[in-house]
C-alpha cells in the first residue's frame, strides 16, 4: 500500500480498474489500522466498561452539533447503558468501515467511513469521528486517527474523495481536518439548532490526488 501512496501510476491500477460500485463491496474486510498513539480496531467485550465509564459529556455532545438538553430524543446520543453500548458495538463490528479508537489500551472513540449506494458509484465516502474523553482532546489523537483512515480510504479502498460535515463552532475539529488536508468546500447555513442557537455546518472534502501529493511531500 505504501508504494501506491507514493506512486500515482500504481494508484491507477489494482482495484481502480473495477467499476466503482464493485470496489467497495469487495473490500468488506476490516483491517486494524495501527498508528503510534492510536489503534483502530473492531470492538471487544472489554470496551463496554470503558465506554460506560466515559459516559456522555455535555461538552462533547455540544461539539457534535446536538443540543445537550435534547439529546434524549436521539438514541445514539442518549446516556449509554450496558445494553445500548453492546448493541452499538455489535453494529460497529458488522459495519465494513467502522472502527473503535483505542488509546493507551483503552476505548477512546469511534471512526467511520460511510457510503450509500450513490456514494459507492462515485467512489466517495463521508468521514465521521467521535472522541468521548474531554481530557484526551487536543493531543493529536484525532489527527492520527483521521490520517490512518484517509490512508486506508485512498490506499486500499481507492476512493476518489472523502467528505465530512462539522458544526461550525467545533473549531478544534475543523483545525484537525485542515491539518489533515481537508479543504472547506461550503457552509450549510444555520443547519444545527443547539441550545437555542443556530450554527452553520461546514462542508469539507479531500481528493485522492491531494492526499497522495501530501504523502509525497511528507
Amino acid at each position: 500500500m505504501a508504494a501506491d501512496l507514493k506512486n500515482p501510476i500504481n494508484y491507477q491500477g489494482g482495484l481502480s480498474i473495477l467499476p466503482f460500485s464493485k470496489r467497495a463491496t469487495l473490500m468488506t474486510t476490516k483491517p486494524n489500522l495501527t498508528g503510534t498513539v492510536v489503534l483502530l480496531r473492531n470492538p471487544e467485550p472489554r470496551d463496554v466498561a470503558d465506554r460506560l465509564a466515559l459516559g456522555l459529556d455535555p461538552t462533547i455532545v455540544h461539539l457534535f452539533g446536538v443540543d445537550p438538553a435534547a439529546r434524549e430524543t436521539i438514541p445514539a446520543l442518549s446516556p449509554p447503558t450496558a445494553e445500548t453500548v453492546e448493541q452499538w458495538m455489535d453494529a460497529i463490528a458488522k459495519t465494513p468501515h467502522s472502527w473503535i479508537i483505542e488509546h493507551e489500551g483503552r476505548f477512546l472513540g469511534d471512526v467511520h467511513l460511510r457510503a450509500n449506494a450513490l456514494d459507492r458509484l462515485a467512489a466517495r465516502a463521508e468521514l465521521a469521528i467521535s472522541l468521548y474523553d474531554t481530557k484526551k482532546l487536543g493531543l493529536g489523537l484525532g489527527r492520527e486517527t483521521v490520517r490512518l483512515v484517509l490512508q486506508y480510504a485512498f490506499g486500499s479502498l481507492q476512493l476518489h474523495r472523502v467528505g465530512l460535515r462539522v458544526a461550525s463552532h467545533n473549531a478544534r475539529a475543523i483545525r484537525c481536518y485542515l491539518a489533515c488536508g481537508f479543504l472547506v468546500e461550503g457552509r450549510a447555513r444555520e443547519a444545527h439548532f443547539v441550545a437555542g442557537e443556530r450554527y452553520d455546518e461546514i462542508i469539507m472534502g479531500i481528493l485522492a490526488r491531494e492526499f497522495h501529493d501530501r504523502a509525497v511531500a511528507d
Binding site: 466503482f20 430524543t73 436521539i74 439548532f193
Partner: protein, 186 residues
C-alpha cells in the same frame, strides 16, 4: 406505507399528490430519457429502457416514503420528495425529478418546488431546505435559484459521469428567505 396525512398540494398548473400503486403505468409510459438521466448524474452507457419492474420499483420507493408526491400536469410528469425531514434541527433536503422530456422548460418544476417549500416552511415549520445538483445541470440550478435557493458550496468531484468528474453544487433556502420570496404575492 405512504404517509396518509400528507396533503395534496394544488398549484395553477401542477398538482402534487400522494403516490398510488397504479402510477407505475404512467411512469412506464414516460420511459427513460438519455438527457434527463444525465442530469440525474447517470452515465450514458448505463442507460436502460424503462421496464414494468423498474416502474413498479419507482412507485414502491415513493409509497414507502413519508414525504413524496407525484407531480401531475394533466398526467404524471415526475415526482418530488422532502428527504431526511429533521424536526429537531428543523431541516430537510429536497429532491425533484421531471421525467417527461416534453414538459421541461415550462416552469412546472419550479411550481412544484414552490408548493413543497410552502408545505416545508408553513406546515412543517422547517428552518432550512437544502438540495444538491450536479454542476452541469444548469436548468435545475437556475430553477432552484428562481425559487430562492442560494449556492452554499461545491462538493468537488463528487460525481463521476461519462468518464469525467463533476462537482455537486450544494444549495439551500432558509425560512426567512422563503418568506421574502412570498412578499407581495397573494
Amino acid at each position: 406505507m405512504s404517509n396518509a396525512s400528507l396533503p395534496a398540494l394544488i398549484g395553477k398548473r401542477v398538482t402534487l399528490r400522494r403516490p398510488c400503486e397504479e402510477d407505475f403505468a404512467a411512469r412506464l409510459k414516460l420511459g427513460r430519457d438519455a438527457e434527463i438521466s444525465r442530469m440525474y448524474g447517470g452515465n450514458r452507457s448505463d442507460l436502460r429502457p424503462m421496464t414494468e419492474e423498474a416502474a413498479r420499483h419507482w412507485v414502491g420507493r415513493l409509497l414507502d416514503h413519508d414525504h413524496a408526491w407525484i407531480i401531475e400536469a394533466g398526467t404524471l410528469i415526475g415526482h418530488v420528495r422532502l428527504d431526511r425531514v429533521d424536526l429537531k434541527d428543523k431541516r430537510a433536503s429536497l429532491a425533484i425529478g421531471i421525467d417527461d422530456s416534453t414538459q421541461l422548460g415550462k416552469g412546472l418544476g419550479s411550481e412544484a418546488i414552490a408548493l413543497v417549500l410552502g408545505y416545508a416552511f408553513n406546515v412543517l415549520k422547517l428552518h432550512r431546505v437544502s438540495l444538491r445538483a450536479v454542476d452541469y445541470n444548469s436548468r435545475a440550478i437556475g430553477a432552484y435559484q428562481k425559487c430562492g435557493f442560494v449556492v452554499e458550496g461545491r462538493e468537488r468531484e463528487a460525481a463521476f459521469v461519462d468518464g469525467i468528474w463533476h462537482d455537486d453544487v450544494m444549495m439551500a433556502i432558509l425560512d426567512r428567505e422563503y418568506a421574502e420570496t412570498q412578499r407581495g404575492k397573494t
